[in-house]
């Protein structure tokens, strides 16, 4: 059992608190992604789990024991860094073998293990090269190999793909996911890229300013965002947000139509925010939400994104790829009621 549990974790540097009361349970074998904007405390959380940083308050538990007072090497974890941290003066073989220096394995077993890992990562032919002779993707594989070779209870990844170009990133994303399915270790993966989070995670943890905003499966955080921050952060392009007020007939958009959306727990006159994803907002269907002129077209092939100016703000909607409305044309945008999201205007918390 290699679960990871964070209990009321807090971290203060000098006088600034960068983590507030982080609590999270990661099950054995789970792939959890921490995602959030730059500076929100993702790396700090990961470094506390690794033991590279001390928690100011709270507990870290790995495989059923509290590890707060254990050295990194005693925690049975491995970490892959953003800039790989593979040693330029050592061959690939030495780099991968580095993780075994302190293991109890016999020499032949070590060699066997090293070769297993190299084969798994498709690196057997590269073992005698120096890092300078490798491509970015290969270097990243060496870093992963070095982490894997010890077969740690938990893998920690800190933005391991952000130095790779887009195509390689997509490929490595898939490779890491496959690797996880094969080896089954617990993985905690940090990224600021929501696409990475959505595609790889069993569960996503969304952080902002050191506070957990939501924990859930990719589908949960996409379809049921807990607040406006999560709604805006997950999914590209971002969810459209429109100011509105609750009335007895439904939700009246600012300077716009009233949407027949009856919500029992709303008080009449309460200011709310209505959210709708560009994907769900289409020309001339469902509940009419807005009307305006097309300002920009963004053809994506099968479909076209249109930017529509509504009362001075831009709303993004989806249109057909073949016959999109022309720039300058006035369109009516609507969405199905079940695709509408409602948030409290003051707190940003989801209301449905």
């Amino acid at each position: 059992m290699a679960n990871v549990a964070l209990r009321n974790l807090g971290k203060t540097f000098d006088k600034t608190t960068v983590l507030h009361d982080i609590s999270l349970e990661v099950a054995d074998g789970e792939f959890v992604v921490l995602v959030g904007p730059s500076g929100c405390g993702k790396s700090t959380t990961l470094r506390i789990i690794a033991g590279l940083e001390e928690a100011t308050t709270g507990e870290v538990e790995i495989a059923g024991r509290v590890v707060n007072n254990l050295e990194p090497k005693e925690r049975n974890i491995a970490m892959v860094f953003q800039n790989y941290a593979i040693y330029p003066h050592m061959s690939v073989r030495k780099n991968i073998g580095f993780g075994l220096r302190t293991s109890a394995l016999s020499k032949p077993d070590r060699i066997k293990r090293l070769e297993e890992v190299a084969a798994l990562l498709d690196m057997t032919d590269l073992l005698d090269r120096k890092p300078a002779q490798l491509s970015g993707g290969q270097r990243q594989r060496v870093a992963i190999g070095r982490a894997m070779v010890r077969d740690p209870a938990v893998f920690l990844f800190d933005e391991p793909l952000s130095n790779l170009d887009a195509q390689l990133r997509t490929q490595m994303r898939l490779e890491i996911k496959k690797l996880h399915q094969r080896v089954g270790n617990t993985i905690i993966f940090v990224t600021h890229d929501q696409v990475e989070a959505m595609t790889m995670a069993d569960r996503i943890v969304i952080l902002k300013d050191g506070v957990i905003q939501q924990v859930g499966t990719p589908s949960e955080v996409y379809h049921k965002p807990a607040n406006t921050f999560v709604a805006g952060f997950i999914g590209a392009p971002s969810m459209n947000m429109m100011a509105a007020t609750a009335t007895s007939q439904g939700i009246r958009l600012f300077n716009g139509p009233t949407v027949a959306l009856v919500q029992s727990d709303l008080t009449v006159g309460q200011p709310v925010t209505l959210g709708v994803r560009p994907d769900d907002l289409m020309v001339g269907t469902g509940q009419v939400l807005a009307e305006g002129q097309v300002v920009v077209q963004e053809p994506l092939g099968a479909e076209t994104l249109i930017y529509v100016s509504v009362d001075g703000t831009e709303v993004i909607a989806k249109a057909s790829g073949r016959t999109p409305p022309a720039v300058g044309e006035t369109v009516r945008l609507g969405a199905a009621t079940e695709n509408l999201h409602l948030f409290d205007a003051a707190t940003g918390a989801a209301l449905r």
Binding site: M79, N83, P88, H89, A132, R150
Partner: protein, 292 residues
Amino acid sequence: MAIVEAIRPTTDALMKTSAPKKPANLGQILRWLLLFAGGIAMIMPIAYMISTSLKWPHEVYNVNLIPREPTLENYTYVLEDGRFYMWFWNSIIIATITTVSNIFFDSLVGYTLCKFRFPGRYIIFIAILSTLMIPTEMLVIPWYLMSQQFGWLDTHWGIMFPGLMTAFGTFLMKQFFETVPDDFIEAARIDGLNELQIWWTVAMPLVKPALAALAIFVFLGNWTAFIWPLIVTNSTEMYTLPVGLSTFGDEADVAWELIMTGAAISTIPTLVVFLIFQRYIIQGVVMAGLKG
């Protein structure tokens, strides 16, 4: 400091070799002339050293570069004089031990000051740096009194103790360890190495060029040191090469031809040291060039 700067421009120079050739302009010609003048100024003393070592005593004060009747007599004399080997050996021992000691301690202290956060770290660093401002001449007397009290006068230890660690070396190493990313150190920590192992197997190999520069610098400095060895030694057997060479001749006359012969021979180890370590400097430059 000079060395930090001295190594870095070499990287740029290497990179620039691929730039397309442009026809020489006036500025470039001026630069070549300056370099040429500098080169001559550097080479002349060495040329005169070798020339003088090949002259007969009566020709020494003649400024001609080519000896009229060249002779190897001086070399035979110096090499047959047992004292030369004694001094040579003393210098080798002192320069070698001091170099090894500096490589070890300067880098250890530099690494600690660079990579560990502890209270007083900055003050310690400033204190070490500030000793750079004290000239050797001011330190010689306290060193002497100290050696006298401890009974270190006229011993190898007495000659080398002031130089076993240097503020400059510590500073140089600290600056170079700044270029080693913390991730490397943390990765090694997670892989289970203790702090000394991390320093030795991860950090040290990554600063090899700086270590090579430091080695050359310290070796040369101690090989040519004169004032302190002269003061702390009394007996001929304890002299280092520069001190010993200066005693060639008698009260009436300084035997320049013998001194120059000894000096010419004594440049050989410095050349060897330079050739050995220069390789690492170039390697380091190449490595830095390939990074990223």
